[in-house]
Amino acid sequence: MSATFEVKPARGQQPAAAPPAASTARKPPRTTRRTQAARSLRRHWQLYLLVVVPLAYFVIFKYIPIANAVIAFKNYSPIKGPWGSDWVGFRNFELFFQNPVFWTLVKNTFLLSVYTVLASFPIPIILAIALNEIRNGRFKKTVQLVTYAPYFISTVVVVSMTILVLSPRLGFVNDAIGLFGVPSIDFLGRPDYFRHIYVWSDVWQTTGYSAVIYLAALSGIDPALHESARIDGASRLQRIRHVDLPGIMPTAVIILVLGVGNIMSIGFEKAFLLQNPLNTAQSEIIATYVYKTGLLNADFSMATAIGLFNSVINLFLLLGVNFAAKRITGNGLWS
């Protein structure tokens, strides 16, 4: 890409391959690119050798599946394979859209994600700003270390902890509300509690981690800004409002774009683990339904169609939100 001027130490073998810079510049750009590529390949063949295996990984495990997704438009038969199976056009999609479960799935997925984004976006910012106000090193470090810890715990364990803590017989949450005379509640057996449990256990797990990202952004703010604000008599709250918040804006926008863009791709793992026959009315989301249709009922074509529908919506959501964010704030994912 960059200039061809770099004088590489001659290795003797290619006197003709390295023309003087002046003559290269006069050639049409196409040829230049091609000669550049050829020279790069000859000189750095070892680098190209290195990328062969990783690239093969991406082709095999990421791009062939995208090609395999063609079975969404077919009636997949294991014997004929993805390409040999018979075409059915959009029948799988039509069947899915007509299925009464369709709107429930879309609604559950959408509400769960929106709730997650709404709750887990502002709280880490508040935590980071609060930590940033504190100069007491040890207290600050302790809070950071403890709040960061749950991020490293596996989803299986977090879900198990949630179930144990909320358990009607053993959990301390029911003991606590029992003190106020409230009868014990089977939180996981009630569909209307599912979203709250999902979202707030998520906040519990990820707030400390997300705050670290904002703390880094806060430490990048020029201290001179704070100093001059102080001299002008700004209170702590005013400095947060006019110095800290604008300073972390770009980071916040990126995180919000990622959050909103991924709204329909909310993770399978946690919803699946928190699910039980009693709460599926609200806990069944697209991802868990795909798993059940595809791997438990072995309807590969239908599951792929639903997954594809979801992926396409996601892609457009992410691109759309990114575009909007760029327009409004000037910050986007690829700025």
Partner: protein, 309 residues
């Protein structure tokens, strides 16, 4: 260094400009809020640990809160003598170590060439990688590939399909690009070093911090993952710890066999209850023990990657 300097400057300032009363009240509010956050995060963790060290009957009666009652190690003894749990532990170690070795090697193999300006086509390859973050074929099409390769129900299914993370490639590439100067490469070529030799003897030794961060990210991810095992593995002998945990903790598949009478059944039920708490501690311990030492690097690594995507 710069952070300490900044801190010093701030404290010296405080003596010159007096904090106003509203600021003092505000700061008090901030501290109270942080205490609440600390308690909210810490209490469930302490509750689990306290229960795991209590007696089965105390746990089953729901009497334990933040301190072990009738301290006992029964649950841990039971966990460490259960062949299925121990097998899961061993499997998880195998997957974490093997998977990390493969992942780190492949990540460096693609991240290093992508960091070199003389590597023609690096922008195209980068786009090929980034696209996979935005769009995927989905669960079933990927499953079909794994099936066609004959990886189903083998240990390879745990480490190969999720071998390279694009995020980790970006982190490594950014590190290489910002810390390995071109002059170093030119000097090495004059001395007759090839690209591979340069990577092996100069780049890798200089990149230990980023390699450590990436390795830990992969290891923790592998240790905590259960989805690949859920869909690709059938043989219980291959199950990683997380699947065993799910069976015991969430599906309540533990014990019951061999109970002769009601008293024994009750005892087993009580033991199964404490066992859950002990299992949570046992499975999270390896990760929670190392994380305070790596948290700093972890953040730094994430930041390096975030500087320029």
């Amino acid at each position: 260094m710069s952070i300490t300097l900044q801190g010093l400057r701030r404290t010296s300032e405080r003596t010159t400009i007096e904090e106003t009363r509203t600021d003092k009240i505000f700061l008090l509010g901030v501290k109270i809020m942080l205490w609440i956050a600390l308690i909210l995060v810490a209490v469930p963790l302490i509750y689990i640990v306290a229960n795991s060290f209590s007696s089965p009957s105390a746990v089953s009666a729901g009497r334990v809160l933040l301190w072990p009652i009738e301290p006992s190690l029964k649950a841990y003894r039971e966990a460490f003598s259960d062949p299925l749990i121990m097998k899961g532990y061993l499997n998880s170690f195998i997957y974490a170590i093997g998977g990390t070795l493969i992942s780190v090697t492949l990540t460096i193999a693609i991240a290093y060439p992508l960091s070199r300006r003389t590597f023609f086509g690096r922008n195209v390859i980068m786009s090929v990688l980034i696209f996979t973050m935005l769009f995927s074929g989905g669960l079933i099409p990927t499953y079909l590939v794994v099936q066609d390769l004959g990886l189903l129900n083998t240990r390879w299914a745990m480490v190969i399909p999720s071998a390279i993370g694009v995020w980790q490639v970006i982190i490594a590439r950014t590190f290489f690009r910002s810390t390995i100067p071109d002059e170093l490469y030119e000097a090495a070529t004059i001395d007759g070093a090839s690209d591979l030799r340069f990577l092996w003897s100069i780049v890798l030794p200089l990149s230990k911090p980023v390699i450590a961060v990436i390795a830990l990210m992969y290891a923790i991810f592998q240790w905590n993952s259960y989805f690949d095992a859920l869909i690709y593995l059938k043989d219980p002998g291959l199950y990683p710890l997380q699947i065993v945990l799910r069976n015991v903790l969430i599906l309540n598949q533990y014990g019951g066999a061999g109970a002769q009478n009601l008293a024994q059944q009750l005892e087993q039920q009580q033991l199964a209850n404490v066992l859950k708490y002990a299992l949570i501690v046992i499975s999270s311990l390896p990760v929670l023990v190392i994380y305070p030492f790596v948290a700093r690097h972890f953040t730094k690594g994430v930041m390096v990657g975030a500087v320029k995507g």
